[in-house]
């Protein structure tokens, strides 16, 4: 397949573009999706290319999302975009209580082929009401498939798979990753919605993460002492969680660390650790999870510097779990506060 280096946002746009071209039932709705650089660039140019199928909306998330659910029930394939997870919460009823329940409560045969692309807003200065990492909340709702793309390549493949699926699929997209670049196949492809990825094989410890937590782990790997062998798993799916893949790895390494950017209560890592315990996987030491503290994300950089787990925190935790000395490293302002623009 021909590849070229594109950004996370461009990969999402390309998936939508290719699916709009092949699926006449698909349409896109959301605030600003028809702009020149719509939805952070993820819908750029699509309104011009597909007239009448990429619709800007009034500021009415509940009605817009509900309308999309109704259209999906009747066979259309809506892609709904919400620019922050908090805006999507105004549509909690059509997402959680209508779309997620419809097929089940009517005894099957009533699929809701809707895709919700929801932006999780970690970014400089966005503060308590624009940055909530409610990953676990979506994962806890039966009837939704929930995925988190961690790289541009995954973003494209997951969005294509979501748009082909018959059921409600939620893509929780960490804004923090929007500038990441990667070699992404030009052709349309999809990746499974329910499978974790072993991104790197190793023997000392299994690190399980997703989204911006996953990218922090990638950064941490570059700082780790060379004699530490990490097996890195990208969860990809939060509903369902691919517990088999995780248990297989932990059975091999005997150590488990989970890393994410949610609060530590009712958290994704806790869910992973609980299932490893239920399966009685034999461990060489207590499993650990690294997340944010149980407070809202503040706005001041003096405080956000302390809020998110960094690559240094991750290295420190891994070293501690392996009984090795921690490394000393001061992070620059850019490393702490500006999203990564690296090429993977």
């Amino acid at each position: 397949m021909s590849e070229r280096i594109i950004k996370y946002t461009e990969a999402l746009k390309e998936a939508a573009d290719q699916m709009l071209a092949q699926d006449p039932k698909m349409f896109i709705v959301g605030l600003g999706v028809s702009y020149k650089n719509g939805a952070d660039g993820t819908t750029a140019g699509l309104a011009q290319k597909y007239p009448g199928r990429v619709l800007d909306t009034p500021v009415s998330e509940n009605a817009v999302t509900g309308m999309a659910v109704g259209a999906a029930i009747n066979g259309l394939h809506p892609l709904v975009h919400h620019g922050r997870i908090e805006f999507a919460l105004l549509a909690a009823d059509p997402m959680f209580t209508q779309a997620a329940k419809w097929n089940y409560m009517f005894g099957g045969g009533n699929p809701v082929p809707i895709v919700l692309r929801i932006n999780v807003g970690r970014q400089w200065g966005n503060g308590p009401q624009h940055t909530q990492s409610l990953y676990a909340m979506f994962g806890s709702v039966a009837g939704l498939k929930v995925v988190v793309p961690s790289t541009p390549k995954m973003a494209k493949g997951l969005l294509v798979a979501a748009l082909k699926d018959k059921n409600p699929v939620v893509l929780l997209e960490p804004r923090w990753l929007f500038q990441l670049k990667e070699n992404v196949p030009e052709e349309m492809y999809d990746v499974p919605l329910d499978k974790a990825r072993v991104v790197k094989e190793g023997s000392d410890i299994t690190v399980v993460s997703y989204g911006d937590g996953f990218v922090a782990v990638l950064e941490a790997l570059e700082l780790l002492p060379k004699d530490v062998s990490v097996e890195l798993i990208d969860m990809v799916s939060l509903s369902p969680i691919d517990h088999d893949a995780i248990a297989r790895s932990v059975a091999k390494t005997g150590r488990l660390l989970t890393v994410d950017t949610t609060t530590p209560a009712f958290n994704v890592g806790s869910e992973v650790i609980a299932e490893v315990a239920r399966r009685a996987v034999v461990l060489k030491g207590a499993p650990q999870s690294l997340s944010c503290p149980l407070v809202p994300c503040p706005t001041s950089t003096a405080l956000t510097a302390e809020y998110y787990p960094t690559k240094v925190d991750i290295v420190g935790t891994i070293c501690k779990m392996l009984g090795k000395p921690a490394i000393e490293r001061e992070l620059s302002f850019e490393e702490l506060h500006l999203p990564p623009g690296r090429t993977l």
Partner: protein, 313 residues
Amino acid sequence: MDLLGAYRKMFLIRAAEEELAALYLREKIMSFVHFYVGQEAIAVGVCDQLKEEDRVMGNHRSHGHYLARGGDLKAMVCELLGKEGGSSKGKGGSMHMIDKSVGFVGSTPILGSVTPLAAGTAFERKYNNTGGVSVVFIGDGASEEGVVYETMNLAGLYKLPLLIVIENNLYSVNTTLSERRTAGYDVQKVVEGIGLNYRRADGNDYHDVAAKAGELIDGVRAGTPAVLECITYRHMAHSAPIMDESVRKEDTLDVRKEKDALKRVRDELIAQGDQAGIEAAESQIKAHVLDAISFAQAAPYPAKESLYTHLYE
């Protein structure tokens, strides 16, 4: 009426926003920001009708509402710069203004959702029979959220002393009214149909805003909640100090300059013969703004430990 006093407040908002916009362009200021330049006559025209015990709430674009109500400038700039001395101790940032000492009881950026909260502040007044009204500033975009109409009905039903000010600057980000509403969309009919009072004011005209806000607030105090819709122009881009002329439809740069609310009041004051007085006030206010900015730049950041404080009282 003290027109020079009103001009001073409008000029304070304008000068503060312009200096802060320049600062944003010069330095990395890590607080998501929406500037109020162009809409000053609304905040000042409405707040000038309020009494000390009245309450004000706002939205994502609330620097102007906060300053018009008399909020502390240094605390506001500190908040934008993420400093300990900020109005929310650095935790909230630009979208979370508060100064309860002057009755500004909070601003939040989730569109529409501040409207029922403001109704609640009015409910408390009625419940405790203490008098006083509540005013909430929202945008034309926010007014499309269903909860705003639910709140109008609720406020009317419970006869809450609430004034909803819709600052209609013609856009939600870059989306025009006609891209979001039916051709016959009539705010007046909707509001009056629910049973609330309604006035439409020229939001670029201090006198018109002040007069209509005054009429409505008399009714609000007597138990009929109301909506004041002010048509205005936002001079800067939606969320950044840069300009966005390519998306403007009727409110082009020339039109904005010509109808500028500050210019109108200033011309009127000059015609009354006090050019020297105005210029003196302007340079004094500018110095005050620059002083607040240097103060905030030199002010300390919050201690790391404060990440964990204030979750509960």
